[in-house]
Symmetry: C2
Subunit: 238 residues, 2 copies
């Protein structure tokens, strides 16, 4: 989708096998997952996962329609990452709770946990795209910038430097006219403006919400693991 050359730190499938094969194998995996879900014989879990699939694809479309928009509202950005990323975390946590026969309060707690964790994860991921090495990110830094994707670090960085850098942002994002050197300058401006720190602060807030969501569940190694995971989603980017 994002034409990145790296995925999870490895050469992306479309570069090895070509785009048609990669798309088809994606369809196959979707269909195979659907079969495995039917095998659970849980219509409720199927409903959760069907809705998640639809919400995720809506989120991706929404993001695509709002690329290149430097005036994107922070609330709309959060709506996009809630749909395209956090819905999957929420559905996974909710379906797990349903499958385990948890009561309604625990199902809701775990769904809320997944949603907050997913938002924290995506905020950190968007920060990493302007700050990390390819090794740490598992894909090339700069991909978001090169697609003109309106992520929070870009929105904040551009807003904070617009006075003196209006022409740079107008050209590279609004008009989408980028040279290979522009990413380095964009990164300097964004990091220098404190936008990475602000993005990671917000990610930390969502990690705290995730931990709060499971605080009413009985203490256990599993609950501790969920809490640690929320912290790690942010600390990996710090």
């Amino acid at each position: 989708m994002d034409a990145s050359e790296l995925r999870r730190g490895k050469v992306a499938a479309h570069l090895i096998w070509g785009a048609p094969t990669s798309v088809l194998v994606g369809d196959f995996l979707f269909a195979r997952a659907f079969e495995l879900m039917v095998e659970t014989d849980s219509m409720r879990a199927l409903g959760i996962l069907a809705e998640a699939s639809r919400v995720i694809s809506e989120g991706e479309v929404l993001q695509l329609t709002r690329a290149h928009d430097l005036n994107l509202d922070q609330d709309v950005y959060l709506q996009i990452i809630s749909a395209k990323t956090a819905e999957l975390f929420a559905a996974a946590a909710e379906a797990g709770a349903v499958g385990a026969g948890a009561d309604a309060a625990a199902v809701k707690a775990l769904r809320d946990y997944g949603m907050a964790l997913g938002i924290a994860f995506q905020l950190a991921d968007d920060a990493l795209d302007y700050g990390a090495t390819a090794e740490a990110l598992g894909k090339n830094a700069g991909d978001d910038f090169n697609e003109g994707k309106a992520t929070l670090p870009l929105l904040l960085g551009a807003a904070r430097t617009r006075g003196r850098e209006a022409a740079f942002w107008e050209r590279t994002i609004t008009k989408g006219e980028r040279t290979p050197e522009d990413f380095g300058r964009a990164r300097e401006l964004i990091v220098g403006s404190g936008a990475i720190g602000a993005t990671l602060d917000l990610a930390g807030d969502y990690a705290d919400r995730a931990k709060a969501a499971v605080s009413a569940l009985p203490a256990s190694d599993w609950r501790t693991a969920l809490e640690d995971l929320a912290d790690f989603a942010v600390s990996r980017a710090a």
Copy 2:
């Protein structure tokens, strides 16, 4: 998938909206269909459709791996079109019967009908790719040739003209080195060899199988419509 510029007689979505949007909207439609299936609350129908989704994507992958292969066995070709096309017809007919509460014999009859209808349809479609105008086909003629897709008209036409045209087929299909003029010559060779007629004869055999499959169902306007549909799947290409 096939990079065709026309689909159902209209300009293809990827040319209007771009490939990423088209892929995402495809994902959305898949997810939305999944949601609608869950609403039926029929785990049996979901199982039929999940299996069909998986078989279809396997068929597309199989076809892709066997492109450019002029020695493809006719049985493997039939296996490919059974999976990538006819499985959808079979699942639709079967799920309809299940949804209507039909008995096991009628469910099987309708599944068999759909499978044979789908094979007849795809054989005729593959013949049309070497014979029809874009208006009749709803997409550009020559797409299969230009992808080196090993369809029955090509396999038969190449086999029947290989003595004198070995170099032409070797270059255009096996090596995939095609010029814009090559499709016209390929079409002449294939039509002249009688391969289109042979493909449509086989399509007619499958249309007869489809009609035989529903012959034990009670006579009705609906059964007649199914029979007419089987004939039309082939006659549209004659």
